[in-house]
């Protein structure tokens, strides 16, 4: 396990704990180790807003071992996302000012295919007043990056150029929902998702009590996104099934996990096909959802009486959920679930402690296997795993 600190006794409760003796040595790049070809790399956004220590940290992955190989300074990295071909890493910089102007930025890094190193391709400013971006989504073909700016409640679409770098925003949308019960109409986006066609973008956020879908398909270079086309009240985390036809949504206020039909031709959310009540769960009880690449398992990171990673088996014929294995974390709620494309594992990030857990998964079924702590990285905000 890689760590920035000596682990507290809480962290040694039940998980595998590697010797801390090697940690200091791992904190620095070792060129010899860095030159070893690996199959997998982890990219960890580290830091708090606009601090000097902000960076993207790169690790080579070998079994349980996370070996640091690069530290790339950047500003307030809040979200990482890999291109579909895993050759480019995109970073949302959660800043409110860039070169004196009020906007955030996003960066594109080229990934060395053999050694995993990052090289900056481009830094692109978002539209004016689109500050503090925290979430991103890439279209399935990798040609369009959607960015949600928390400040200003503004969505930007940025074309991805052939080398993976980012062009200027081509579409801008400011979301005001006019929710009567809330003092301000401005929403604070916290989730973004393209549907499987890439023609629609789904979004939700605090201050907005509905899921919005935007049409982005036709000539996005000049055409603005369209207003909300479908509504799902009170959405928290959500995820689409890989076949594109079922939408899974955690409803914050009602504390239930629901499944909806999704019409990807029209970009509309259809009827509810299942609702799983989870009484006793608070509004932020489910912070993250993820689906295994096989489409056979949904995962929820939950915090109620304890912290769990709950697996839900997805019935093949209709997408309905039934509970499967649950893994209990003593006090480490998951803020982000990362499911690498090879389907052999998933990772859960606990931002508060910077803990990253790895859970082995069956690549064919998504069933959960053994668990291990693989890293503790102070200030970790987001993780991306390259497996190709």
């Amino acid at each position: 396990m890689h760590s920035d600190h000596r682990l507290s006794n809480k962290l040694s409760r039940r998980w595998f704990l590697r010797s801390t003796a090697s940690l200091a040595a791992l904190a620095q790049l070792r060129p010899a180790a860095a030159l070893i070809k690996q199959n997998a790399f982890a990219y960890v956004a580290c830091g708090k807003r606009q601090e000097k220590e902000d960076s993207i940290r790169v690790f080579s992955l070998h079994r349980r071992e996370w070996t640091p190989i690069q530290r790339v300074p950047t500003r307030a990295p809040a979200c990482l996302i890999l291109s579909p071909d895993q050759q480019t890493l995109y970073v949302a910089n959660q800043v409110d000012t860039h070169k004196g102007l009020p906007h955030g930025t996003v960066e594109a890094f080229c990934i060395d295919p053999s050694y995993g190193y990052l090289r900056l391709l481009s830094q692109q400013a978002l539209s004016l007043a689109a500050t503090c971006p925290r979430h991103m989504a890439l279209s399935p073909n990798g040609k369009l990056l959607a960015v949600a700016a928390d400040g200003g409640a503004i969505y930007n679409l940025l074309p991805v150029l052939t080398d993976g770098s980012l062009d200027r925003p081509c579409s801008i949308f400011k979301q005001l929902d006019g929710v009567p019960s809330r003092p301000r109409a401005e929403s604070h986006p916290y989730n973004l998702l393209f549907d499987t066609t890439g023609n629609h973008l789904l979004s939700s956020g605090f201050g907005s009590d509905r899921l919005s879908t935007f049409a982005v398909a036709h000539d996005p270079m000049s055409r603005r996104m369209q207003r909300r086309a479908a509504e799902v009240n009170d959405p928290g985390a959500y995820e689409l099934h890989p076949d594109g036809s079922i939408l899974y949504v955690w409803h914050k206020i009602e504390s239930n996990l629901s499944c909806y039909r999704y019409d990807f031709h029209a970009g509309r959310v259809g009827e509810t096909i299942q609702r799983i009540s989870m009484p006793g769960y608070g509004s932020d009880a489910v912070k993250a959802l993820a689906i295994h690449p096989s489409g056979r398992m949904l995962y929820t990171a939950e915090t109620a009486a304890h912290s769990y990673l709950q697996a839900w088996q997805i019935r093949a014929r209709d997408g309905l959920l039934s509970p499967a294995k649950r893994i209990v974390f003593d006090d480490a709620p998951g803020d982000e679930i990362i499911v690498p494309s090879n389907g052999e594992s998933l990772f859960v990030l606990d931002r508060l402690r910077g803990l990253i857990h790895r859970i082995a998964t069956d690549s064919a079924t998504g069933e959960l296997g053994f668990v291990e702590d693989v890293a503790q990285i102070q200030g970790a905000q987001s993780v991306a795993i390259k497996t190709l």
């Binding site: 007043a129 801008i172 400011k174 301000r184 109409a185």
Partner: protein
Amino acid sequence: MAITVGRNDPRYNMLKQSRNLRWPAHETDAVEEIELCETSEHVAEALQRIIRAGVRPTIRSGGHCYEDFVVNNPNGSILDLSLLTMTSAADDGNRYRISPGQQLGDIYLELYKRYGVTIPAGTCYSVGAGGHISGGGYGLLSRLHGLTIDWLSQVEIITVDSKGHVELRRIDKDHDADLFRACRGGGGGNFGVITGFLFDRLPAAPYEVANVYLSFDWATMNEDTFTAILTTFGNYFAHRGHDPETWGLFAILELTHASSGRFGISAQFCNPNGRCDDLKVVEEFLNLFHEFEPDPAKAPVSGEKRFSQQGATNRERVGRHTVDKRLWLDATIGGSGSGHSARAKYKSSYMRENFTPAESKCIYKHLTDTVATVDLRSAVLSVDSYGGAANAKGMAEATSSWQRSSIMKTQFQHYWINPEEDAARLQWTREFFRDLYSQHGESRYAGTPYPSERYEGCYINYPDTDMLAYEFWPQLYYGDKGLYPFLQKVKQRYDPNNIFHHAMSIRA
């Protein structure tokens, strides 16, 4: 309904651009649509539609914004108010109405012909009232009558509430007084869309004015003489200019680049009663420059010529000088056009004290320097006289134009046509400004006229985005005495969703 001009409309290419042809800088910065509004109702309807579409609105009245605040709006919409020119007064009082789309020249004509009054506003005919008055509005009569906003009684403004709904407000010192103050000099594009300025009273238009022009030959100039001219000019307004009998004198030191051949001083004068019966103030002012052997016959050769010398109706000797006495409206309207659109860069400062020798030498150095590939004849440092009624006590607190103790106001102007010259011309202008404002003051504010004993920052109607490089840019435009935090509160209250924004808008 507003008239919507989209990309396929033949008018689009004209209406998408600024008078400063540097903007939009990229085709992708250009707006999607322009909404031409003729009434407040048109504005409200169009604005609501824009907000529902998730689009950013920017606001244009005359199109003279120096920076890209309006036309740099990718995917957005410009609310163009140039057709919103209604002038009928409000029903509930003896008020004068100015609409944001009215051009200053038309306002002078209208107010003069209908009522015999005027506003102490700018000299360019085609400048729109919306932006001009929002930022303060000053001109040749400002030493005599103050700023335009000093006379403002009420504002009609459309704001957007927290739910995204448009709301028409009539604001004054008793209704939304905080917003009213913010609209009196806080600058355009910050809080909402102003659809009307109302005045309970306005100053009488002068009957006549006396114009003079002094021209100096760069060929015979040296650093000492140049410094002496600047010192003489500044000294007058630092001392003699405080006397109310001089407030009818507005002078501009037009410091053109040496390659233009000449530079000069333009001045307009009338007595406080709006007549030119007693011209001893003018004579006294002109006598100060006699030793520098000006040639009054030589007209300025470049720059923004503020006073028309054509068609003078009455040449009159004043001591050893000749002045042109003209009826005020003729002098104000005649030849006050704004010229063709061009690429341009502007900067500004307020000066509380006279030029120091170091400043004068710095100006001399830059105006005599050459740039290999650039013709600098179109570069001008205009030094406007200031003070008088513009420094009226209490107005700093009643309005958002806080600079009320300056004696001069500078405007760096640089015009050109060829985009390939952008970099060289911008660099020259930036270095000139940075060098000039690095002569004095604290080192952390070097390169800027940060508020101090010498300076009062910059004018928001002459915005300069280069100042954004400094974290203290709000203090340059709004001072360091609490005005900016006040404006931020107003912004939070009346535009909670930051619907109205640009590069230098108030940041809540």
